[in-house]
Amino acid sequence: MVRQRQLIFMSFPMLIYVLVFAYFPIWGWLMAFQKYKPGFDIFDQKWVGFYQFRFLFEDESFIRVLRNTIAMSVITLVLSFVTAIGLALLLNEIKRTGIKRIIQTISYLPHFLSWIIVTGLVATSLSTQDGIVNIVLMKLHLIKEPILWLGEGKYFWGIVGASNVWKEVGWNTIIYLAAIASVSPSLYEAAEIDGAGRYRKMMHITLPGIKPVIVILLILNIGWILNGGGFEIQYFLGNGQVLDWSETIDIFVLKYGLKIGNYSLGVAAGIFKTVVSIVLLIIANSIAKRLGEERLI
């Protein structure tokens, strides 16, 4: 204790920061049990008990919205994990640093585009009029007439997943590349002497080597599962025809909470999401513990 005095002292600013900005605002959760009107003190508001929660859960579209959120989240989560790890493994095999850098740079640049631009690109390339996707598919004779990608609900989740991969795969790869770099080269040398090829080394050294990182990231990401793989993408790409597949909790809250001035509903939904996230996080963490893996808590 005494010997760590300086370290403890140094961590105080961070602790205060977290208390002020992460714990202190929690009292604002009171809003969820009120019919909050801006401009008045929080204690002068009308208390309505669980009305906001009942509104959320009793609305028949809520189940659908929850389904969409979880579905798109899981799709995005799985896809982004598989593609990012895959790309990291492949990149790791490229020995020419120049080419490796170029590929890496190109693949992470889309990360810096905002979703409004990306969804604009997606909408344009999926258009039936002159969208590149339909043109390519037509030229390959895979389809007879252009498909209205954004007009049919069944394609929507896939489009969200694919757009997410396109935008984020390079960025997500960086952390795995860093993890791979920390795997001891002597392991590879030993394997080589034993006659292991590229594929074997990948399977038995690289992957197990980055397993702790993968598990930790998975646990962290599971905490975000109710954020549905983003909010903007569904908001910008969604339209009336695909509403049943595109609407997520956040959009629902935006429409029935913020847009119509019922801020309390937004807070109630936020609380719901937080509680579910904490439960999921704990479950994932304990599973990791059982499996004897690295874990968060």
Binding site: Q241, K255, I260, N262
Partner: protein, 568 residues
């Protein structure tokens, strides 16, 4: 540079930064101190009795305009005239950057100019003076101007008048030259192809489109689109609003209102709307409907319009104007559009063209910081006279326009050219300031229109050849001749700007009905004709589940309130 020198330099730099932070903190708090007491001052000064005449003693009025430039030059003709004749120097500040942010800073510091563009934030912060007594006592011209709408421009919360609305109060005949509102639009090329037929019904409209598309399956190498609509984000009126017009009602948003009883009813999932969407379903099965219509975003819609291959759509002109302007600048004026007032039944009088309503929460207000509100209102009142009003819109006789033998004003081609020149306007016009001023709109007693753009002859002279050809073929002079002249507005008109109250059941139900419309209307249009009735029935059921009564009750309650309170 040695290590020591670097350290010293770094230390100095830090010192400077610390100082500048401290200094900035001090100066801003000083400013606050200056600002707050003056905010309470003018309340007393407005009570003191004012000089009886508008003496020409020099005075400066500071103005904040909620729009960015163009900033007039120092020797601007109109500002000079104001200074010479009224003794008033206008010190204007134009918006730079974000308006909300600017207002936030102003309100936080209590640092207001003398007059300011309207905003509800300012009313909420008690930043502006109630004007009704000032107008009654010192501003006969303004009083006369607003007489008919006096109750209407009062703040519904406390009954005071805070803003002088800049648009929507008319005198004399109302006759605009261009219609910016809703209509069924059709390409001029289509009308030309069939020798400019006159027609009023949906059947005839779609027949033309069908024939034209069959004849020209491609325009500029791309497939022709018969009919499109936009239903993106808040721009959903292209899909939702048409039926109310087809039965001869004006644009009330989501309801149709009986003009006699003032009672609103829904039209969207009822038999009023059904024939229209059934027709769209029918044209879809013929391949005329743009299948992508309901999945496109605004940019895609605009690009489609600008490509010149959309033959028709239902929309409001201001919503697609940008695309149309692009068509014209590409030299494809024949692909631009003519708005038509279609109705279900030829015997119905169309009501697409409406008289603009007074736009509340717009125009100028006088802030609590103004030293001499009485003098300011007198100046504004003077600017309200015919002489000054004509100067703002028309300019000076002999320089900016001439008077014809019939007493009507006109411009020569050179004068018209001046009006399009930005630098000339900076030196000779006061457009930004006048934009926020109360205006005499409509027609002057001498028969001249409020502005050159609304003077039929002057408007006609400004047209392009293709425009003239279309109008002449129909025997019309202005675009609004296609529409029936609008009767005076119902006192409760329009229903679309009724405040549904934040967070209320009415808001929830209105949002639900919007979701349902955006989901079921495309479904009904794009389904095969034999399925139409079942989709429509399902839509009706879903709407009745969405608590439409809550929405209707609120609308009806407000319509009644308006009728009771907005009358003279």
């Amino acid at each position: 540079m040695g290590a020591r020198a670097r350290k010293v330099a770094f230390g100095l730099l830090m010192l400077i930064m610390v100082f500048s932070v401290v200094a900035a903190g001090c100066s801003s708090s000083n400013k606050n101190k200056d600002g707050s007491p003056s905010a309470s001052q003018p309340a007393s000064s407005s009570d003191t009795s004012a000089p009886t005449t508008v003496a020409i003693e020099p005075m400066t009025i500071s103005v904040f305009l909620n729009v960015p430039g163009p900033i007039p030059t120092d020797n601007n003709r109109i500002y000079k005239k104001i200074k010479d004749e009224l003794g008033v120097t206008l010190k204007e500040e134009y918006l730079v950057g974000d308006l909300e942010q600017k207002l936030g800073v102003m309100i936080a510091g209590g640092d207001y100019p003398d007059i300011i563009s309207a905003n509800v934030k300012l009313t909420a912060a008690n930043a502006v003076l109630p004007l009704e007594d000032l107008i009654e006592q010192h501003a006969p011209n303004l009083k006369k101007h607003y007489e008919d709408v006096w109750n209407l421009i009062k703040d519904p919360d406390d009954g005071h008048i805070y803003w002088l609305p800049n648009f929507g109060v008319y005198q004399g005949d109302f006759k605009p030259t261009q219609h910016y509102g809703p209509a069924f639009f059709i390409q001029r090329a289509v009308l030309k192809e069939y020798n400019y037929p006159k027609f009023k019904t949906l059947d005839e409209y779609f027949k033309l489109i069908e024939d034209y598309q069959a004849k020209y399956p491609e325009i500029d190498g791309q497939p022709t689109i018969g009919f499109t609509a936009l239903a993106f984000d808040w721009r959903d009126f292209g899909l939702r609003n048409a039926p109310q017009h087809l039965i001869g009602h004006p644009n009330d948003g989501g309801v149709v209102v009986d003009p006699v009883t003032n009672v609103a009813e829904l039209f969207e999932s009822t038999d009023i709307a059904k024939p229209y969407y059934k027709k769209l379903n029918e044209i879809n099965s013929k391949g005329l409907m743009d299948k992508e219509a309901f999945a496109q975003n605004y940019d895609q819609y605009m690009a489609k319009i600008a490509s010149g291959r959309v033959l028709g759509m239902f929309d409001q002109r201001w919503n697609f104007q940008q695309g149309e302007e692009s068509l014209i600048s590409q030299g494809k004026s024949e692909r631009a559009y003519v708005g038509l007032p279609l109705v279900y039944d030829v015997n119905t009088t169309d009501y697409y063209l409406d008289r603009p309503v007074v736009n509340l929460n717009n125009g100028f207000g006088i802030t609590v910081n103004a030293d001499d509100p009485v003098k300011i209102i007198k100046v504004l009142d003077t600017l309200m006279t015919e002489k000054w009003q004509k100067l703002f819109y028309w300019g000076e006789e002999g320089i900016d326009y001439h008077v014809g033998d019939n007493g009507l004003y006109y411009r020569t081609p050179e004068q018209r050219k001046d009006q399009e020149d930005v630098t000339w306007k900076q030196a000779n016009k006061a457009d930004s300031f006048y934009g926020q001023m109360p205006k005499l709109e409509g027609n002057y007693p001498d028969g001249n229109a409020d502005s050159p753009g609304n003077q039929p002859d002057e408007f006609f002279a400004n047209l392009k050849d293709i425009d003239r050809e279309v109008l002449q073929a129909y025997g019309y002079k202005v675009w609004t001749d296609f529409f029936s002249a609008p009767p005076p507005n119902r006192v409760s008109y329009p229903a679309w700007n009724i405040d549904l109250i934040e967070g209320s059941e009415a808001r929830v139900s209105s949002q639900k009905m919007k979701d349902l419309a955006l989901k079921y209307l495309p479904k009904a249009i794009l389904t095969s004709p034999e399925n139409f009735d079942s989709v429509w029935a399902e839509y009706g059921q879903q709407v009745s589940k969405a608590n439409p009564e809550a929405y209707l009750n609120r609308v009806n309650e407000q319509l009644k309130w308006r009728q009771d309170n907005w009358g003279k």
